[in-house]
């Protein structure tokens, strides 16, 4: 087992180097100049331009820049933002709780609605119910997030006035972040109504971000249920005279859940990395929006650092899943 773990762990290194190399080359392939962008229409005289490039370390050839960067990363230094001049790790850690909170809420929403929808569609296969659920989930999957978000805002926030438009908390509450998770911070504060405000701010972004995972989970659960319902042990359970509910929930669903859980895990990774549009629409101060804005400003350390940390997180989550599979199913360990 230990050997298996180390084997898996060493696979992480090429992935890690690959991510850094890819990020580094891609951002330097994008046209544009960090110095020029800062100067804007004003322009900048060539001497000052060269001086600033040297200050940013952009005057060296790209391979040297890369090796210097990698060297610093291994020392735990991700550099400082060109814009705010703050350490990248500090910026990331300030923003990450917001992304994590939103991703978790979106996932809870997706599981809460996607799982039952998939089970019902699987059990009632071929009925109008099944067709409706599948049609709705396909629509959800194909919905452009930007349009969907704005539509939700216009209907629920502007027209009905039920939910706040954007942000994480009403401007009337002055709460100092302690954990960075607004739901926890508002609970810790003594401001009445703050928690409710934080919760209401989470509703629309969670729905919008959770729509695609919901559709994926619903479809996956349905097909997995269909497969399991054909299995011998389900027939045996029915033959034993168990109730339909017990057969579906205890015998079928538990087995059907294995691929669904894998999908949930993968989708959580996607959410962490892909909340960019949702965060932009809902002015959600998370890492997705931060990386997007950094690309616009050619803030190379922020783009590289942000992507690297997220990729590392996903790599380690996958490593954890791989190791877990190995523990659960010894055959996986030995096939390698």
């Amino acid at each position: 087992m230990i050997q298996f773990f180390f084997r898996r762990f060493f696979h992480v290194f090429p992935a890690f180097i690959g991510v850094t190399l890819l990020t580094f080359s891609l951002i330097h392939l994008i046209p544009g100049d960090a110095v020029e962008l800062r100067a804007g229409e004003r322009g900048i005289d060539p001497a000052r331009h060269a001086e600033m490039k040297a200050e940013m370390g952009l005057d060296k050839p790209l391979p040297i820049q890369y090796f210097r960067y990698i060297g610093n990363v291994f020392k735990g230094d991700l550099g400082k933002s060109y814009v705010t001049k703050k350490p990248i790790l500090e910026e990331f850690l300030t923003l990450f709780p917001a992304t994590l909170e939103l991703s978790l809420c979106a996932m809870i929403f997706a599981v809460l609605f996607g799982l039952p929808a998939g089970v019902i569609a699987g059990v009632k296969r071929g009925t109008p119910f099944d067709h409706t659920i599948m049609a709705v989930s396909l629509t959800g999957y194909s919905m452009p997030i930007f349009w969907w978000g704005l539509l939700m805002i216009l209907f629920f926030s502007v027209f009905l006035g039920w939910t706040p438009v954007s942000g994480r908390l009403s401007a009337l509450f002055w709460i100092e972040p302690q954990t960075g998770f607004m739901l926890i911070d508002t609970l810790l504060s003594d401001e009445p109504g703050a928690f409710k405000s934080a919760l209401s701010h989470l509703i629309l972004p969670s729905i919008v971000l959770g729509t695609i995972p919901l559709a994926v989970i619903a479809r996956m659960t349905r097909s997995s249920m269909l497969e399991v319902l054909k299995e011998d042990y389900v027939r045996t359970a029915r033959a034993k005279g168990l109730s339909d509910r017990r057969v579906i929930l205890v015998h079928a669903l538990r087995n059907a859940m294995i691929p669904v859980i894998t999908v949930i895990g993968l989708q959580t990774g996607v959410l962490l990395a892909g909340a960019i549009l949702t965060e932009t629409i809902f002015a959600w101060p998370g890492v997705g929006k931060w990386i997007l804005e950094s690309i616009g400003r050619r803030d190379y350390p922020a783009i590289q650092g942000g992507i690297l940390i997220i990729a590392t997180l996903i790599i380690f989550v996958n490593l954890g899943v791989d190791v877990l599979y190995g523990i659960i199913n010894p055959r996986i360990r030995h096939t390698h």
Partner: protein
Amino acid sequence: MKRRKLLSIAVMAVLFCMLAVSVHAKEKTLVYCSEGSPEGFTPALYTSGTTFDATANTIYDQLAKFERGETKVIPGLAESWDISEDGKTYTFHLRKGVKFHTTPYFTPTRDFNADDVLFSFNRQFDKNHPYNKVSGGSYEYFEGMNMGKLIKSIEKKDDYTVVFTLNNPEAPFIANLAMAFASIGSSEYANKMLVAKTPDEFDQKPIGTGPFVFVSYQKDSTIRYKAFDKYWAGRAKIDKLVFSITPDASVRYAKLKAGEAHVMPYPNPADLPAMKADPNINLMEKEGLNVGYLAFNCQKEPFTNVKVRQALSMAINKKAIIEAVYQGAGKIAKNPIPPTIWSYNDAVKDYEYNVEGAKKLLAEAGFANGFETDLWAMPVQRPYNPNAKRMAEMIQEDWSKIGVKAKIVSYEWGEYLKRSLAAEHSSLLLGWTGDNGDPDNFLAVLLGCDAMESSNRARWCYKPFNDLIVKAKLVSNQAERTKLYQQAQVIFKEQAPWVTVAHSVVFEPLNKKVMDYKIDPFGQHIFYGVDLKD
């Protein structure tokens, strides 16, 4: 007995909460839906208007200020100033009794004085100053305004008198000192941070003398301020000010409509009719201090020929551009400076749209059959040009009528700026928003020979014009300067290095509860003096 006690405690708690709520409700909190996050909290280090809104216009003051909503310079932290006869020595008499903010992280022990002025300028001016390299230490505005070359020395005469000596006379100097980069910070606070070995904190937890005290900043989300009770010019009318950072214009509008915000900047042009019709929104508008232009590369053939430039200017139907691109929210520009700036020469005659006349001029220049060229269009929307690509298409169409085939070229914004700085273009669309309301800020910065390597995208260095603007800088008498700038505008029109396209109108939608808001001509957002109806 115990139950009674509990009941009375509960009643008291409810009463206390009600009282707290009523106090809460009485406070006037203005929510400004800002378009982006500040880069930091020391304006000298940054260049974006977003940062200046969050710092220079709230937390800090400058020696001189712009009158709210105007370009007129009035005293700020300096009560008055004297200028020597040779125009090289500026003596500032500082205001007494000005307090710095008291916050949980700093309690000042003294009032504002000359040390703070020296600290704020020397940090940018003196490369050996202990704060020069702090927080990245790049002072783009200070450098961009040539202050490093201009200032010879800054001296403290006494606690309330500071003398700036310049290398050469510079008439716009006072206006420059009213800009955001010239904000005054506390030298006492800076020293404290230096001793504590945390000088970076000075730029993240700001202390100023301005109308609002910084309370907190949640990155990319919210900035909170409260009114400074001891503000030297009188306490702000609102109690709390919140910047709710919302990058998307449609969402900002939704927030305004839902009553979650009171003021929003940069509305989508497409939303303006709906905003006008909304009974809860007051859509304010003002002529912007800007110009959108097409610059010919005067060092490249055939634009070295003045007749070609004149012909191409004449071939453009500006009226159609104003209607289609600016959707009516703009004014035809005939001068490189907007009409709101003093010295604007209204006597200048613009090139009339005249296809036949243009053809004739082009033939005289030796291009009877036209020629092929490129026309660069910016990829971004700017206040002075809401849709450069559409504008380029219209100009392309107009030029084709006189036989000039223009190929539209566009790059990513950073690349566009970089390549245009390298003068790779033949003609390009760009624009400018004024910094300090001085004509020099347009004429010298954009068309002067000194700016050939930077912001003079026309690469036009014309001695008769340049002599006038250089002379105007050396004279402090405004009437005399006006004459010089007016002559310069006549030469500019004759030489046609640019086609001056438009001055756009700036819109700002507000909730009707907002009172006394004034649109800033420099495109910044100022909340001192603004009130909220109960």
